[in-house]
Symmetry: C2
Subunit: 373 residues, 2 copies
């Protein structure tokens, strides 16, 4: 299980296509994973997500641990059964939310004491607890418990944090040693410091695991810095294992990560901006909420063949968003996810046909990106 086979390598870049085997079917990479934080990709049912062509979704351990709780999901037979999703699921470790959502957290070598962002109740998360919860969730891919350090942060803070994340990874693997049904991925940290990224990547990949992720990028740093560190870090990850860049979901970042040799990414961006009234289109993002679309009876994206663009107009979606009708958020969510999933499919095809850079330039031109031609 969790075999990863590289199918084709780009001759001009580090881009590659591959197939990752999981207990719930295979995943064609590079892949974008929609985020289903609380056992639903917001506004969508599992059937909806499947119809959009998603190959794998992400669940958030911290949120599911708080509500409905690991016991209920375990009783249901795992997250797949609970939400009726029979394709692969990746769960994060809760680390990111512990640091981004909970106030009054206290980090020790043992783990993190937190107060729930919902009711203020006290909880203790540790590498072992993160593994226990994810085992109960029954995800195909589990993530190691790490600290996603803030940006900016000074060298010593990042160094200590990165080293602790390495020790936590050892404990994760100690707790979860049987990878036959659930794979554990380690996470490379190191902030914006190239030498720490190198150490973290080498030490993390010294631990034999079915896959590796890069965390702590796309956390607010400038674009050029993100791309520099991405391209600096990726070469230290083994060729023959899936590589996952955490928290990336704009079209350009997805192209850049593929170019750097990354195979998987996830982000709430397409679904979050949908709920705020923004559509991703082949000609750039459109703030459909704007009054200028009130009488625009064309589809969101002329070139898109998603069910929303086939059936509804900008004026209609704008009206729904304007009056806060749930359907507006839903239609834009469907469109945005379809757009990215379709884009990833075209990216895979362009790699197979060894014209990735050509496709990237074509896409950037049309989208209106003016950098990195």
């Amino acid at each position: 299980m969790f075999e990863f086979e590289i199918k084709k390598k780009s001759s001009e870049t580090r881009a590659r296509t591959g197939v990752l085997q999981t207990p719930h079917g295979e995943i064609k990479t590079p892949v974008f994973m929609p985020v289903g934080t609380r056992a639903t990709v917001k506004t969508l049912s599992s059937e909806d997500v499947k119809k959009l062509g998603a190959q794998i979704i992400l669940g958030n351990t911290y949120h599911l641990y708080l509500r409905p709780g690991q016991e209920i999901i375990k009783l249901a037979g795992g997250l797949h059964k609970f939400m009726n999703w029979d394709k692969p699921i990746l769960t994060d470790s809760g680390g990111f939310q512990v640091f981004s959502l909970s106030k009054n957290r206290k980090i020790t070598e043992e783990g993190v004491e937190i107060r729930s962002h919902i009711d203020g109740s006290k909880h203790f998360l540790s590498p072992e607890k993160a593994m226990e919860i994810q085992e109960d969730l029954g995800s195909d891919i589990m993530m190691a418990f790490d600290e996603c350090a803030p940006y900016p942060a000074d060298y010593d803070y990042i160094k200590n944090s990165m080293e602790r994340t390495l020790r936590w990874l050892e404990r994760c693997k100690e707790y979860h040693s049987d990878m036959s049904r659930q794979a554990l991925f380690g996470i490379v940290q190191g902030g914006m410091y190239p030498d720490l990224r190198e150490i973290s990547a080498k030490e993390t990949t010294n631990i034999d695991l079915p896959g590796y992720a890069i965390g702590g990028l796309s956390v607010g740093e400038p674009r050029e810095l993100m791309i520099k560190l991405l391209n600096h870090t990726t070469p230290f990850l083994p060729e023959n294992k899936p590589r996952y860049l955490m928290g990336v979901g704009t079209p350009d970042y997805l192209f850049e990560m593929v170019e750097a040799g990354i195979d998987m990414a996830d982000c709430v961006l397409p679904t979050r901006i949908a709920r705020n009234g923004t559509a991703i289109t082949s000609k750039g993002n459109l703030v459909i909420r704007n009054a200028k679309f009130a009488k625009d009876f064309s589809p969101i994206d002329e070139e898109c063949d998603c069910p929303v663009c086939q059936n509804y107009t900008r004026a209609y979606v704008r009206h729904l968003i304007n009056v806060d009708e749930i359907l507006g958020a839903r239609l834009l969510t469907i469109h945005n996810l379809y757009f990215l999933i379709n884009m990833m499919e075209k990216i895979r095809l362009s790699i197979e046909e060894d014209r990735f850079l050509e496709y990237k330039n074509e896409f950037y031109d049309k989208f209106g990106y003016t950098y990195h031609k």
Copy 2:
């Protein structure tokens, strides 16, 4: 157009089945009409509503007049095109919302001056304006501009209001005299006073129209009073025209109105209680939001074959409602509408097979209704 053919009459009650022709297809009666207030049945797309088997939906003139405004919908080619719904639409006159939503309204013989419940802006609604807006919306069935009087209200208030509603109906028909593409239905008022109901019914039906409605019932009065007035009023409506009871949507009120000889009804109830976490089931309403369903992995209704009951559990839907995930409201909306639409189909079948009362008693027993056996 708008021919109404009675197919079968119950031998024990006044229940009947029929077919109403409209420019957007035929409607089998008795029928329940889901409410799509602001050009969407809340949480659902037009495709979703069609899949549920809805034959006709209702749009709210007052809401659509305020946002997006009649001009935009007219530009789109009417409400059908705006929301991509190609089956029949009935629009109310705005009268109900004028009286229930807007404060500082001023009623005169000419019409009603209101302040918008959204931004406080001033508007003047009249029989002529209500017709103009509904003509722009392009609904198949337009409703006359009436006053839906409050409950309780004294005799003189109701008498004056009912008489003004009759004068307003004359003006509606004067403005909208061509019924070839859009039918105008008159509305019987008269509060809880049987003599006023009789006068209103006789005077309203003296005006030749393609259909007639009963308004001002189910506005907070006791159940027995509602059923008494319903059965008192309906016989004054012509046999050969469709009869519409406004604002009714609980299973028992739907059975009672069919028994009284009514053909059409609408209500926000099934969709509103869905968003609050309540499911209508064959064994009564279930407050799925309740903690007791947290570990209940059975479907919402064992006997239901809707997509929600086929794919998801009470525990899952309860979790979604509990964490305010939009999907929870959506799944319960789908289930509740499916339940009522399916129930109406079974009611039609029971009339065709002349066993309406048998089906009613069976349904009431199982649902847990203890009255009116």
